[in-house]
């Protein structure tokens, strides 16, 4: 369906909902086409191609609200979706804070946000296969110790999103994504290690070359070989960008208005307090053209914006959707987020930590002795209390340089202490995906090993 037709479907849902008794309604429609190819050991392993679309609806009956969704975008399907939402709204209870944004809060960014690249839908199936094959072949050829492969994959996606509500908002945008990854396996004696590299871009041309992806993936797998478990100790831990961004995710969860109104955040009641060292500035920006967190409006029809969360270590803002803002007597920050099937939540645009001045090598030299983490696994982070404990792997830093690989250890601390114990922030900030961090060094972390 064209974007124009999808807009008609969304408008129909709103009209039917209001005709059938909803006092307010909003409808989201998402449509997309996905193509993927995976190869392994030089042969095509899977090819996938499909298009899908679905609609989600939220209705208000006064202060009650219900939602529904369907993958059937025919008039009958939409009509049933409207009835389902109204029926289920009746069983909910009156919530004085429920409701859509005010009319004057609605709107959208204009101008080209560069979310859609013409070259992505035009990529031929053979080009995806070729890119994946080259990435894997480069990884396999990098070193004799690369003995196996979990494969390489190339994916392209193009889709549209439409949003309409009963207060006159109607907006839509299309976006594209291309990605390429390789996962080689390195072997030394009994030990087997894998790692991956993944390049993602809004445009096909923006992807790293297959050779670059293969080389990086091989380098990452190789440097894990010969890993040891180290003694339990306290040390400075350097998080590489790929893992440092997870720390931003924990802070995001803690500054989300839902965590705040439920009093379930380690950053509750800390607005305008120095919660981190002065070098920390954390920004959420959904307005930067071409970036992954960018959109013209949030999932409630409020214009996207830039919000400084932490400025020079001081907590400046929490992030709100309409509901959380009303609960706390604030205004939405344009962070409304919603999938098609769930209730409205809070999301972020491009969430990033401002870069520092030192290169990773300068940071290793300054740290002297410590742990460089290249992988974190598990879910041992509690953003209610700030308790932090995760599985880790990486390299030991000795004499200011990376030395032997380390695995089967955990790193633990408390997020409030960790924010205050940041000793270095790297200059290596790159905007991949919607959460982006440079290298980050944090002192006094407990490493649990032997």
């Amino acid at each position: 369906m064209s974007e124009a037709l999808l807009r008609d479907v969304a408008s129909l849902a709103i009209r039917l909902a209001t005709e059938r008794g909803a006092t307010d309604a909003e409808c989201t429609i998402a449509e997309g086409d996905e193509f993927s190819a995976t190869v392994r050991l030089g042969e095509v392993e899977t090819l996938k191609e499909a298009g899908s679309r679905a609609a989600g609806l939220r209705v208000l009956l006064g202060q009650r609200q219900g939602s529904s969704y369907t993958s059937d975008l025919t008039e009958e399907g939409i009509s049933q979706m409207v009835d389902a939402a109204i029926a289920i709204a009746r069983i909910t209870e009156e919530d004085p804070y429920a409701g859509l944004p005010e009319r004057e809060e609605l709107g959208q960014l204009t101008g080209d946000l560069q979310l859609f690249a013409e070259d992505v839908p035009q990529v031929a199936a053979a080009a995806r296969i070729d890119a994946a094959k080259r990435a894997e072949a480069t990884a396999m050829a990098a070193d004799a110790r690369i003995t196996n492969s979990e494969g390489a994959g190339c994916e392209t996606y193009s889709g549209s999103r439409v949003f309409a509500n009963s207060r006159g908002f109607l907006g839509s945008y299309s976006s594209t994504t291309a990605s390429l990854s390789a996962t080689p396996v390195a072997t030394a004696g009994e030990q087997m290690e894998r790692d991956y590299w993944h390049s993602i871009s809004r445009s096909w041309a923006g992807l790293e070359s297959p050779e670059e992806v293969g080389r990086k993936a091989a380098h990452r797998a190789l440097r894990r070989l010969g890993s040891r478990k180290i003694e339990t100790c306290k040390a400075t831990v350097v998080f590489e960008p790929r893992v440092a961004k997870s720390l931003l995710g924990h802070v995001f969860e803690a500054v989300s208005g839902e965590s705040i109104y439920r009093k379930s955040s380690f950053l509750l009641d800390k607005l305008n307090e120095q919660i981190a060292v002065e070098t920390v500035t954390l920004i959420d920006d959904a307005t930067i053209p071409g970036y992954f967190g960018t959109s013209p409006f949030d999932d409630e029809g409020v214009p996207s914006r830039r919000t400084v969360i932490i400025e020079k270590g001081v907590l400046k803002n929490y992030l709100f959707n309409t509901y959380a803002a009303r609960k706390l007597g604030a205004k939405t920050t344009g962070n409304g987020a919603r999938g098609l099937t769930g209730a409205a939540g809070i999301g972020h645009g491009t969430l990033y930590l401002e870069a520092g001045t030192q290169t990773p090598e300068e940071i290793f030299a300054a740290v002297g002795t410590g742990l460089y983490i290249t992988e974190l696994i598990g879910f041992g982070v509690n953003t209610v209390t700030g308790d932090y404990s995760r599985g880790a792997a990486g390299l030991w830093i000795e004499d200011g340089k990376l030395s032997y690989p380390v695995a089967e250890i955990t790193v633990a601390g408390h997020l409030l202490d960790m924010l205050k114990n940041i000793t270095h922030i790297g200059s290596d900030l790159e905007f991949r995906g919607s959460t982006c961090a440079p290298t980050v060094a944090i002192s006094d972390i407990t490493i649990s090993g032997k």
């Binding site: 996938k48 191609e49 679309r53 969704y69 289920i88 087997m192 290690e193 598990g378 404990s389």
Partner: protein, 477 residues
């Protein structure tokens, strides 16, 4: 047969056996070795309570068909959320292109697979009055708050679904299933004066109807458990750091098996030689006390299935017997490529994904020790009774799982509660340190979700109390 099939897909969309044969033939028109069709109709509803108010509720329907074609080691996959003959034919042709050659297989005469019913539910949860379901979250809220005045926030979510599936395969098999599911989750926050709040989680469910939520599965039971955990945590001390003896309680701590061995035994990783367990069949990978099974046939369990998502009946698979690795979990593709049989382990999240080997309900069988005796045998260690999620790197075998409720064991006695901490180990090594296995096997309460390569499926785990002599605990003290 040209009359519509007697299931939902025949009634709602007029699908006939002839149609299925036609689509399968289309899928093999370029010379593929095997094809299957997976029709899915999924209806869900959920009710959320927050701050003692039923704030939101959702219901919806998704449907579609996924078409897979195998050609040697290659998989072609396409799906459509439109069940019109034109769109299904187009998807079949798209998937067919994985092969390049003349049609080799003629598909006719689908044989309807024998049926069993592991989840007899007289009335689907989704067919009970919404008011009855609303009561569950309200009761949970009241019970959690009544448990202790320090409980100040309660969230309760009830969700149910029914999934109708039809799988037709080019080797002539036609299977259908109706898969019910329901669950209730409760989360409670407690706080003392103006101290740091602590959270407790509980819940339960399965392939069950609403009558499940009574007795030990009542909203009150789950709510009390969540509130109790939050209160216990109020006086928890920092978790220890380093290697020590760990005792895991029965039930949900069985997530250890899911992470330490389960994923590493999935046949796709082993066929490719990228799992830490590859090539180890017949080897000792755990202490002699350990027998681990994956069983998709337990009545009413969340991880159980009459047929897997490739139309194969599920079964009980012995993975590790007295410490010796016996078998991998296999889907049809891996079975074809390794000359074995499917173990009924082919699963997928929905019609938009191709199946892969997955777990169902994974647990360790009972040993002979009395749980109290296990605790008494520990001079200094950690006793873990509840866990959050876990994760594994199947190639190195390193895995983690995060304890959300644990206690110190000092001189054979359970003493102080400790704060959450991650435990880390290595799959083929950790279970060799199991020195005692209890006689109190328990399965989890039925709210587990397993993720693999972006696909989530419901699973179960279970375990008796076990003692692991050496494991790394990731605390701070």
């Amino acid at each position: 047969m040209v009359s519509p099939l007697s299931n939902l897909f025949g009634q709602k969309f007029g699908l006939t056996e002839r149609d299925l044969e036609r689509y399968l033939s289309e899928a093999l028109s370029k010379g593929g070795d095997y094809a299957d069709l997976y029709f899915e109709y999924l209806a869900t509803s959920s009710i959320s309570l927050d701050e003692s108010l039923v704030k939101s509720a959702t219901q919806g329907v998704t449907l579609g068909v996924g078409i897979r074609v195998l050609s040697g080691e290659r998989t072609g996959y396409a799906y459509s959320d439109d069940l019109s003959p034109e769109r299904i034919t187009k998807a079949a042709r798209t998937a067919a292109c994985i092969a390049s050659g003349p049609a080799t297989e003629i598909v006719q005469g689908l044989k309807t697979a024998e049926k069993r019913n592991l989840y007899p539910v007289p009335v689907l949860a989704g067919d009970t009055p919404l008011e009855e379901r609303v009561k569950l979250v309200k009761r949970a809220d009241a019970a959690a708050r009544a448990y202790d005045a320090r409980v100040f926030q309660v969230q309760a979510v009830y969700a149910d679904s029914v999934r109708h599936v039809l799988v037709a395969t080019s080797d002539g098999r036609l299977s259908t299933d109706v898969q019910p599911m329901a669950r209730l989750n409760v989360s409670a926050l407690a706080r003392e004066d103006n101290g740091v709040p602590q959270r407790g989680y509980s819940g339960g469910g399965g392939r069950i109807g609403l009558d499940f939520f009574s007795g030990s599965h009542s909203p009150e039971a789950f709510a009390t458990d969540a509130a109790r955990q939050a209160i216990v945590q109020l006086h928890a001390v920092d978790a220890p750091a380093g290697e020590m003896t760990v005792v895991l309680g029965p039930g949900w701590p069985g997530i250890l098996l899911h992470e330490a061995v389960g994923h590493g035994l999935e046949a796709d990783f082993n066929r490719k030689g990228v799992s830490a367990f590859s090539g180890r069949i017949g080897q000792q990978v755990a202490s002699k006390l350990c027998t681990v099974v994956d069983d998709g046939t337990i009545a009413s369990r969340r991880g159980s299935l009459n047929v897997d998502d490739e139309g194969e009946p599920t079964q009980q698979n012995v993975l590790i017997e007295n410490g010796v690795l016996r078998a991998y979990l296999t889907d049809k593709l891996s079975a074809r490529l390794t000359g074995g049989e499917s173990t009924g382990s082919g699963r997928r999240e929905n019609y938009q994904h191709y199946p892969m080997p997955r777990m169902t309900n994974t647990f360790m069988l009972n040993g002979e020790s009395v749980p109290e005796e296990i605790i008494r045998s520990v001079k200094h260690g950690l006793y873990c009774t509840n866990f959050g999620g876990g994760q594994v790197d199947i190639t190195s075998g390193n895995f983690v799982f995060s304890a959300s409720e644990s206690f110190l064991i000092e001189d054979g006695k359970i003493t102080r509660p400790v704060r959450g901490a991650t435990l880390i180990g290595n799959g083929p090594e950790s279970l060799k340190h199991v020195s005692m296995v209890g006689n109190d096997l328990k399965l989890d309460m039925g709210i587990g979700v397993c993720g693999k390569e972006g696909q989530s499926v419901p699973v179960g785990v279970g375990m008796p109390t076990i003692k692991i002599d050496q494991m790394t605990v990731g605390g701070t003290r």
